[in-house]
């Protein structure tokens, strides 16, 4: 892009206007750039809140309509795996927060290490989720022609609907985790190359906002899908 200002003032060359290599030319300074990117990320997260919110809203409409089927659906879940995964994801949020802290303090290797730890815990979560998916599939709990669960025939179609929500919601969450893992690897390479320090750590911070948001989604999914206390069913 050219450096000729649109307001007719004299062109500014990079020689006389040396600035931080990651300061975009349309920002006054790094502080303004940081605030703008934080605000922009929260605008995106607000669309994400409403995206998951819409699915959760549909979930609650049917949960209120079919409380017994929802309680039985939750009983099909492995509460130990779900609980352990919740803890694993919380640990990954802690390591993510510490990665941002290390970036702020200019600790290059510490940033890379904490990003890597986040990637490891995130992958652990995905592996456990994969085991659960595999088990559900073999238990006949995948909606569609493979759905063979029929312990209570009258409720089977409604339990299948619960499982549609289960696979849909955890699947969307898992998709976000995979994207997050990609972002983590990208941030690790940038941190390794020494891009971040006290004056510029925005990308790690923004990535962290995304990771923590995905953690928050799971904080709600865990009780909603695994821990519905038994409506005393028939």
């Amino acid at each position: 892009m050219s450096d000729i200002p649109l307001d007719g003032t004299a062109p500014v060359t990079h020689e006389e206007h040396a600035h931080h290599p990651f300061l975009q030319h349309h920002f006054e300074d790094l502080g303004q750039q940081h605030e703008a990117s934080t605000l922009g990320m929260w605008m995106f997260l607000s669309t994400e809140i409403l995206f998951f919110g819409g699915v959760l809203c549909a979930y609650w409409v049917y949960r209120i309509l079919y409380p017994e089927a929802w309680a039985i659906g939750a009983e099909q879940q492995n509460k130990l795996y779900g609980g352990l995964n919740t803890i694993v994801l919380i640990i990954s949020s802690l390591t993510m927060a510490l990665a941002v802290r290390n970036a702020q303090l200019g600790k290059r290797k510490g940033t890379v290490a904490m990003l890597f730890a986040t990637l490891v815990f995130g992958s652990t979560f995905m592996a456990v989720k994969g085991i659960e998916y595999w088990q559900h599939y073999h238990e006949g709990l995948f909606p569609g022609v493979h759905f063979t669960w029929n312990e209570i025939p009258a409720l089977a179609p409604k339990v299948q609907l619960f499982m549609v929500f289960y696979w849909g919601m955890t699947g969307l969450h898992a998709l976000h985790m995979v994207i997050g893992a990609g972002l983590l690897i990208w941030m690790m390479t940038r941190a390794w190359r020494g891009h971040f320090g006290p004056e510029y750590y925005g990308p790690v911070e923004i990535m962290g906002l995304y990771w923590h948001f995905v953690d928050i989604v799971w904080i709600f999914l865990f009780p909603f899908l695994y821990l519905i206390h038994g409506v005393h069913h028939v």
Binding site: D29, L30, L50, I64, R101, E199, L227, H229
Partner: protein, 102 residues
């Protein structure tokens, strides 16, 4: 103000991160424990309350909203306001469709 004006850094003390993490872990165990007790109609509101407290802790401390600009606060609060509109209007419809049955 210098051209290289850096962002206002709030380096959160280590103990806050650890304390928030422990609170989240305790909240998870509490959620699981409460779900094993029959509290009748109160099970769901309690689970929702714990999850909401956990989410607020993550947003304020892990996501640094507590140190963010007021404009960021507006966007965060507005997001949940719209989420509230989504739920209130939807259930104003669905819950009243069933009123003859109840």
């Amino acid at each position: 103000m210098s051209d290289e004006h850096a962002p206002h850094i709030h380096v959160t003390p280590m103990w806050i991160y650890i304390a928030v993490f422990l609170a989240l872990a305790v909240g998870t165990l509490l959620t699981w424990w409460v779900s094993t007790i029959d509290l009748g109609l109160m099970n769901t509101p309690i689970a929702l309350l714990i999850a909401t407290i956990k989410a607020v802790l993550v947003i304020l401390f892990f996501m640094h909203v507590i140190h963010s600009t007021r404009l960021t606060w507006v966007v965060v609060i507005a997001s949940f306001l719209w989420l509230g509109v989504l739920f209130v209007l939807t259930f104003a419809d669905y819950l009243t469709r069933l009123w003859k049955i109840y």
